[in-house]
């Protein structure tokens, strides 16, 4: 159907995934829950650091487009880190570990992790 809502006949035989709707396989990682929470995510984040930093930069660019003064991003960096102290174990320490491994400000890591709550309105 070439006008919205772009429905189509039910697909069949799409598996194994291939063709234009398949963009790639997903890599496996292990998170060792026996490690201290601040260390658990280190190998994964180290591996995905560039992609994570790039995604956060995109979000900051969008935020700055809405609030050109940069105050919104400044608020995230300054105000959100305090939330980490209030989170139940082990989440606060894990977020600190993600921030340390990625080099991102803690407030931005918190923002990424509360996206769901923010966008339910």
């Amino acid at each position: 159907q070439f006008i919205p809502p772009y429905t189509e006949d039910c697909r069949a035989d799409m598996y194994p995934p291939k063709g234009p709707t398949f963009k790639g396989r997903v890599t496996w990682y292990t998170v060792d829950l026996d490690l201290h929470p601040s260390k658990r995510w280190m190998p994964l984040i180290t591996d995905k650091k560039a992609e994570l930093v790039s995604m956060m930069q995109t979000i900051k660019d969008l935020a700055n487009a809405f609030v050109p003064s940069g105050k919104l991003v400044e608020m995230v960096d300054k105000a959100l880190p305090f939330l980490v102290e209030t989170l139940p174990y082990p989440f606060g320490d894990e977020l600190r570990g993600v921030a340390a491994a990625s080099g991102l400000p803690l407030g931005e890591v918190v923002l990424f992790n509360i996206f769901y709550e923010v966008f339910t309105v």
């Binding site: 809502p5 997903v26 969008l62």
Partner: protein
């Protein structure tokens, strides 16, 4: 998002989901795609959470996101979460949290906690239905025995409804998008009707992870917000995920 739990005639339970995210977060006119959704795709990872060198649960998530939206506790249950939009949304829960009222639980942290600690489908269902939350949500839960599949519709405080697989009523699957199942979806965003049409065409006899992947590949169930598709089989503990693309013409949501 679209999540499905289905039971085949032998009592095997299959769970699939499309994770859609990034609505209104920057539209790329040139590539006709959502900027944030595209940026999330390289961050999709499968994670095997282990304790004492043994798998506790497996999940598909985004690197840097420590809560869970999709996961399997092998041989026990499968779980996905879909966004439920409401004026009484998560921003109120966040404000309450900031002001020191911290009875509720963050959504994806609850999902992770259930995957990590719940020991059965029933325990998981009770925790997902009864824990106070910061935001409304849909939890889609599958178990390891016949009839164990449900959609839990949650407000921040209450479980509003639990819709379960009921073979006696001919309900061999449950399918949830982002609307209460007892209400019609927004006419501009009806993924439920095409999803259910394709499930009904597939039939219970033919449902497998492979045929479920085809359902999740049909537009507009597959759309410009779809970042990944995950398929889970509780009995084998198998979780497989694929990064998705929706070639034009394709609905933006």
């Amino acid at each position: 998002c679209t999540s499905i739990v289905a039971e085949d005639p032998k009592g095997n339970l299959f769970h699939g989901r499309n994770l859609d995210f990034g609505l209104f977060m920057g539209w790329d006119m040139k590539n006709r795609s959502w900027i944030v959704a595209e940026q999330l795709k390289p961050l999709v990872v499968n994670v095997d959470f282990r304790r004492n060198n043994q798998t506790v649960f497996k999940s598909t998530t985004f690197a840097g996101y420590i809560g869970m939206l999709t996961g399997i506790k092998p041989n026990v249950f499968t779980l996905t979460m879909n966004e439920r939009f409401s004026l009484d949304g998560g921003y109120i829960g966040i404000l309450e949290w900031i002001l020191g009222q911290r009875k509720g639980m963050w959504m994806s942290f609850l999902t992770r906690s259930v995957l990590e600690n719940a020991t059965s489908y029933e325990v998981a269902k009770t925790r997902l239905a009864q824990t106070e939350l910061l935001a409304p949500a849909y939890f889609i839960l599958g178990g390891n025995q016949t009839g164990q599949g449900c959609i839990i519709t949650r407000s921040r405080l209450l479980s509003l409804d639990i819709l379960e697989i009921d073979l006696k009523l001919g309900r061999w699957y449950v399918l949830e998008t982002n609307y209460d199942h007892w209400k019609a979806p927004l006419f501009l965003d009806d993924r439920r009707t095409p999803g259910m049409t394709c499930m009904n065409k597939t039939t219970q006899t033919n449902i497998t992870l492979k045929t479920m992947y085809s359902v999740l590949s049909t537009k507009p169930v597959l759309n410009k917000l779809t970042t990944y598709t995950t398929l889970m089989d509780v009995s084998t503990g198998n979780l497989e995920s694929y990064i998705r693309d929706c070639p034009n013409p394709c609905m933006p949501w």
